[in-house]
């Protein structure tokens, strides 16, 4: 069977600087991959390129998603085809209510899949159930998207969207950053609730902390725009003990031209 996501020798530049210098990654349905690495290693860039952010220029390699050329797809098509990016910095959208965005998003995905749109009652029942899971008050539904939300509320809102959209491939970009331990547990429970044999997840994270709650099948360490090391969940623990320095030094030997800082 084909892999859900195949990344082959992906190279990306931002403002002329190489950020990803040849990434290879295979993600199968049912797997959870953690992508770790120091600041500036390119892990957020990878997450955004997969979701279709246009200010990154792909200069080489290819990405296939369910056998199709992912890089040729518009961001909204990727979303409709089941890719979801939980943003590291969720964007505030004044004047657009959370409930409107959730409904538009869900219906655009359902329409694409040939499913009927949910009516208002069904939709609200679904949203309320998922909000309960994320321990979010109903009032957040009618506020503008992320506007005036605390850091924790924004991250919960991302996972809420994911829970409602039920993507095939979820990419979580530093979803753990800025969360206190209680919020972390809520977010982790939301993520774990979505683990299934049909779904794949990529967790981008700097720290091992989230991986105590969402245990990955594979861990990859990015350094200087390449995957410097891959392993099982125990690799994350090793990094926690030893830091990233030893891997960076190894990666630097392979790629003498150091890429610039992470662009996002």
């Amino acid at each position: 069977m084909d892999a859900m996501l195949e990344v082959r020798n992906l190279q990306v530049r931002v403002a002329g600087k190489p950020i990803l210098a040849g990434i290879d990654l295979i993600v199968n349905a049912g797997e959870v991959h953690a992508i770790m690495g120091p600041n500036g290693s390119g892990k957020s860039t990878l997450a955004q390129v997969l979701a279709g952010r246009e200010n990154f220029v792909v200069t080489g390699g290819e990405v296939r998603y369910r056998g199709r050329d992912l890089l040729a797809m518009a961001p909204e098509m990727r979303a409709r085809e089941g890719i979801f990016l939980a943003f590291q910095y969720p964007v505030e959208i004044p004047g657009v209510s959370n409930v409107y965005l959730l409904k538009s998003a869900l219906n655009s995905v359902r329409k694409h899949q040939g499913l009927p749109e949910l009516d208002a009652v069904e939709f609200l029942a679904l949203v309320r159930e998922k909000m309960k899971l994320m321990q979010m008050p109903d009032t957040l539904l009618y506020r503008a998207v992320n506007e005036g939300f605390s850091g924790g509320e924004k991250k919960r809102n991302e996972i809420l969207q994911m829970a409602i959209l039920e993507p095939a491939l979820a990419i979580l970009d530093e979803t753990d950053s800025g969360l206190d331990i209680d919020a972390m547990q809520v977010v982790a429970a939301g993520i774990n609730a979505l683990r299934s044999p049909e779904r794949a997840m990529i967790l981008v994270t700097h720290y091992q902390r989230l991986l105590d709650y969402v245990v990955p099948d594979h861990v990859h360490v990015l350094a200087h725009g390449r995957i410097a090391k891959s392993g099982g969940k125990e690799l994350a623990l090793e990094l926690e003990e030893r830091g990233y320095g030893w891997l960076e030094a190894e990666a630097a030997k392979v790629a003498p031209a150091a890429p610039g800082p992470e662009a996002s």
């Binding site: 279709g52 518009a74 961001p75 909204e76 990727r78 004047g95 657009v96 409107y100 998003a105 655009s108």
Partner: protein, 446 residues
């Protein structure tokens, strides 16, 4: 335009005045005749403003000069005019409605209802004919009037007269609808709103026009708020695409009075709004909200001025503009804090969204402060749609064109939502969608 052509335009208006003056209302009141003459004289000397004048630097009225507008179109009453006007009624606001067709009061289309005791709602032209002395102290004030305001005084025929005696509160909004149907007409509408002490009224002043007609609305509204009175005023400018709209709202506020203005401009080829208020006593407050949405080659200009002449006044100004195509917007907001106006609290903001490379905005927030114990802020922004917001929406499955429309809509809707009259908000939301590129994509939002 040549000097000769400019003179021609001025001559035309003067000749037109000589022709129509005998039929204008108020001919039996000497003070009114003097006011008209003084207005005409000012216009005769100054002529139309040129872009060399500071207050008209960004707005050329040459196109108005080029047209041979006639002051006195024949009044047309027909079923089709009734239908046309009816399309702009707010069904839920049926209580008080005065309709003016080509600048003349239309009793048949109006439903003045039964206002509470102490409230007068009627045609200003009728009052000028019957009991002009009631109007003298108001109509003779020239205040911040521009030369167009003086021209209005010379030519004015009709408009709304709203008078609220002490303590009278009208809960239902008063809808003043001005429908232009006649190509080539100059409509010098004049409204007078007087709220005596403690009175309270909400006015919707609404300009619409027949598409395909080039006409010229030159409207002046004077508002007087006595001690503790409150007037909320919504001006909805939806003139026809070929129409010209020069409008002014001049407010004189007394002790502890409140004035709230919403100026929503969608229409006209060329539109200019002057909105001024002066605090003549302590404790006044004014809120000036505005939204302009323009596309094609439209030009829309707002000039506002708030005079904090007395202590303890509060003003809040909040204008937003959305400009597309090759349209041009102008915002000039002046807040003057006079030497006696201690404890003034003034805020002014103007945000602009440019949807195309060809659109242009000139924004000039201005503070003039002559007192020392004051709290004043102002600011202006000009920007385009935010790429991060667009990407966020797209990453949730929203098409790019829809995302763009949604963001522009949300930006403009912020001003509309400040209006407290739900049916007006709903109608404006629909109009807004119809004016935005790809607005139909999010029509369920209106």
């Amino acid at each position: 335009m040549t000097q000769a052509a400019v003179l021609d335009a001025r001559e035309r208006f003067l000749a037109e005045h000589a022709r129509v003056a005998p039929g204008l209302p108020g001919a039996k009141a000497p003070w009114m005749l003097r006011a008209r003459s003084a207005g005409l004289e000012t216009f005769a000397q100054a002529g139309f403003p040129s872009t060399r004048e500071e207050e008209w630097k960004y707005t050329s009225v040459a196109a108005i000069e080029r047209h041979a507008f006639l002051a006195s179109p024949r009044r047309v009453e027909s079923a089709s005019v009734a239908r046309e006007a009816g399309a702009h009624f707010f069904a839920e606001l049926a209580a008080y409605r005065l309709v003016f067709v080509d600048g003349r009061y239309s009793p048949g289309l109006s439903t003045a209802g039964t206002p509470p005791a102490g409230a007068t709602l009627c045609s200003l032209g009728d009052v000028l004919e019957r009991t002009p002395q009631r109007l003298e102290e108001y109509l003779t004030q020239t205040g911040q009037q521009t030369v167009f305001g003086r021209l209005n005084t010379a030519f004015m025929r009709d408009g709304a007269y709203v008078h609220l005696a002490r303590g009278v509160v009208i809960d239902e909004p008063i809808h003043l609808l001005f429908l232009a149907t006649a190509a080539g007409a100059a409509i010098h509408a004049r409204n007078l709103i007087v709220a005596e002490a403690g009175a309270h009224a909400t006015i919707v002043e609404h300009y619409v026009g027949r598409d395909g007609a080039a006409y010229f609305t030159n409207a002046v509204t004077q508002i007087f708020t006595a001690d503790g009175a409150t007037v909320e005023h919504c001006k909805l400018q939806q003139e026809a695409a070929d129409g010209f709209h020069i409008g002014a709202i001049h407010v004189a506020q007394h002790r502890d009075s409140r004035f709230v203005s919403h100026s929503i401009a969608f229409g006209a080829a060329l539109a200019r709004n002057d909105i001024t208020t002066a605090f003549h006593a302590v404790g006044c407050s004014a809120t000036l909200n505005g939204l302009y949405v323009a596309g094609g080659r439209q030009h829309v200009d707002h000039h506002t001025r708030i005079d904090h002449s007395q202590p303890g006044g509060t003003s809040r100004e909040y204008y937003r503009g959305v400009l597309d195509g090759r349209s041009r917007g102008v915002f000039s907001g002046k807040v003057v804090v006079h030497p006696d106006a201690q404890r003034t609290d003034a805020q002014q903001l103007n945000h602009n969204l440019l949807l195309s490379d060809g659109a242009e905005i000139d924004t000039r927030p201005q503070l003039e402060i002559y007192a020392d114990d004051v709290k004043c802020t102002h600011g202006a922004t000009i920007g385009q749609l935010d790429d991060a917001q667009i990407f966020y929406l797209r990453s949730r499955g929203v098409e790019e064109a829809t995302a763009r429309t949604l963001l522009a809509y949300a930006f403009a809707r912020d001003v509309i939502d400040r209006i407290r009259i739900a049916p007006v908000r709903a109608r404006l939301a629909q109009v807004l969608l119809s004016r935005l590129p790809e607005g139909h994509r999010i029509r369920e939002l209106a």
